[in-house]
Symmetry: C2
Subunit: 310 residues, 2 copies
């Protein structure tokens, strides 16, 4: 019996629904938050990581992640009695390295000026051919994992005019759309990304997948991706209603607004959906908006520095 993994639905924590009168009044829209900040390991990534780790037959998993996916995968592997190695830059925040280790993950620190994360993962994989190499955002199992959030949004049974969610590699938005559609819900899903990392908006307008030239230096560090994943793009190209680009100032203001008006600690990436309401207030005025807050993992000092100075 101990070899049968918990179904995804039982392993994940349900999303946290938050309504804040003060926040809605400030934004001029009727905002309902689906917060993944209290998900296992503090971000929606656990949904994807658990689905990957529970679905593949391999007992060892290798991935590269300096952020939420690494911690999520370590937690998932611990629950599933598997092992994992997370390749991280040696400059990663100590708190993120420690979080992976707390969940029993092996951290492989690299000097990114000497070897890329991808190359190091390939090196580790060639030494351990029985291990599964996991992508943080471009795999059908990642989409299927994140789809569980779309199903929860559909099951809430609330009539939303649209769902807003952060866009980086596209695993979250592709997953939310997949889950909603699987549940027979056709609500518009709008992706939100920083102007500084607008490969998604440019791809959406061009009708083809475009990449950033280098890792974008937005404060929203969860969406510092070079491009949307291929698997995600196939879904987003067809189903995404729009992509809204937001400024760094609006991302920071949103992080502060969530903290101050809704008592919600979000990481800057998590606040992107709120930033879209600040960017395009007329478009959403008086509407019923579901805002997906993707995660809340940010060091106190970093959070204070971001929020306090604005």
């Amino acid at each position: 019996v101990s070899n049968v993994p918990l179904p995804l639905r039982d392993a994940v924590r349900p999303t946290t629904w938050i309504e804040s009168t003060r926040l809605s009044r400030r934004l001029g829209a009727n905002v309902t938050i689906a917060s993944e900040t209290f998900q296992r390991t503090g971000s929606f990534k656990f949904r994807a990581a658990y689905n990957v780790a529970a679905s593949v037959p391999q007992l060892r998993i290798i991935t590269a992640s300096s952020g939420n996916f690494g911690q999520a995968l370590a937690c998932a592997c611990q629950l599933l009695d598997k092992s994992c190695t997370i390749v991280m830059p040696e400059t990663s925040a100590r708190v993120k390295v420690n979080a992976v280790r707390e969940f029993g993950g092996v951290v492989d620190l690299i000097d990114v000026t000497k070897i890329t994360r991808k190359a190091r993962v390939e090196q580790l994989a060639s030494k351990d051919p029985d291990a599964f190499v996991a992508s943080a955002y471009d795999h059908p199992l990642v989409i299927e994992g994140s789809a569980s959030l779309g199903v929860e949004i559909a099951e809430r049974g609330q009539r939303f005019d649209c769902v807003l969610a952060p866009l980086g590699g596209g695993g979250l938005t592709a997953g939310v759309i997949t889950g909603l559609r699987k549940s027979g819900n056709s609500v518009s899903v709008i992706a939100v990304e920083p102007v500084l990392a607008n490969d998604g908006a440019r791809s959406f307008r061009a009708g083809q997948l475009l990449a950033n030239e280098s890792e974008p230096q937005t404060v929203a560090d969860g969406v510092r991706t070079i491009s949307i994943g291929q698997h995600n793009w196939k879904i987003l190209q067809k189903e995404l209603a729009d992509v809204i680009e937001v400024t760094e100032e609006h991302i920071i203001e949103s992080t502060r607004l969530l903290f101050d008006h809704a008592n919600l600690k979000a990481e800057p990436t998590g606040a992107l959906a709120i930033a879209a309401l600040l960017s395009a207030p007329d478009r959403f005025r008086g509407r019923n908006i579901c805002c997906v807050i993707s995660g809340g993992n940010v060091d106190p000092e970093v959070f204070f520095r971001i929020v306090a100075t604005h």
Copy 2:
């Protein structure tokens, strides 16, 4: 139809259940959080305020509160189409004054070196005999309102070894006990208060109601009460399992732990239950503990100052 107020159960937002693996591991106990930080107006006080405002026949309500009860009462009155006046010291944080006004409450600012809050409330009441004068923490309707949280804890159906909750005027703990017992649940309820404001612990030991000599200057500003309310004391004297006193250092560390390990923004008062686990780790090791987080309303700057320097 519009004159029939929403029943309390439908007016309040259900408490937010949060489990954090990292927090539980850090504290050495299996902690389940019942968080009132996402309650209407950000604290459990809405439960009490709504029950008072919805139950009394008067259309105008007067109270003194520089904190969460004022904002909660203003919100409740707005929902119920009643009006209210909140007496506040003119030194109150601007954000608290604004929050009351945002909900349509009239703020009556006083110079507390010239007139006490109580005297000013009596002055206002004598000018407006049709108004109801509400106590923030000592009235059967306050207990009945807070009892709705106890009912929710019982309805979760989880076996807890004990429930920990902050103790100030006693409205929360008396209410939680009342709701639990009404639901047939006999779980131990333990109150937590700062060493600096230990009238509750002293009263519990003495078997009689004792007061602080002056307003205690604890960082947990929600429990800076002179003494427990008479109505609450009758219940607490019989039903409370214990009172745990915690240091200022543990209150601050708990506020930070909740933020860092569980992504939860709590006001220092809200973190008292966690501080009890830091104070008496052996007593709770390995146990299933329900920690009530009473509220999350704290200015970003104040929060950062408290948390960042420790």
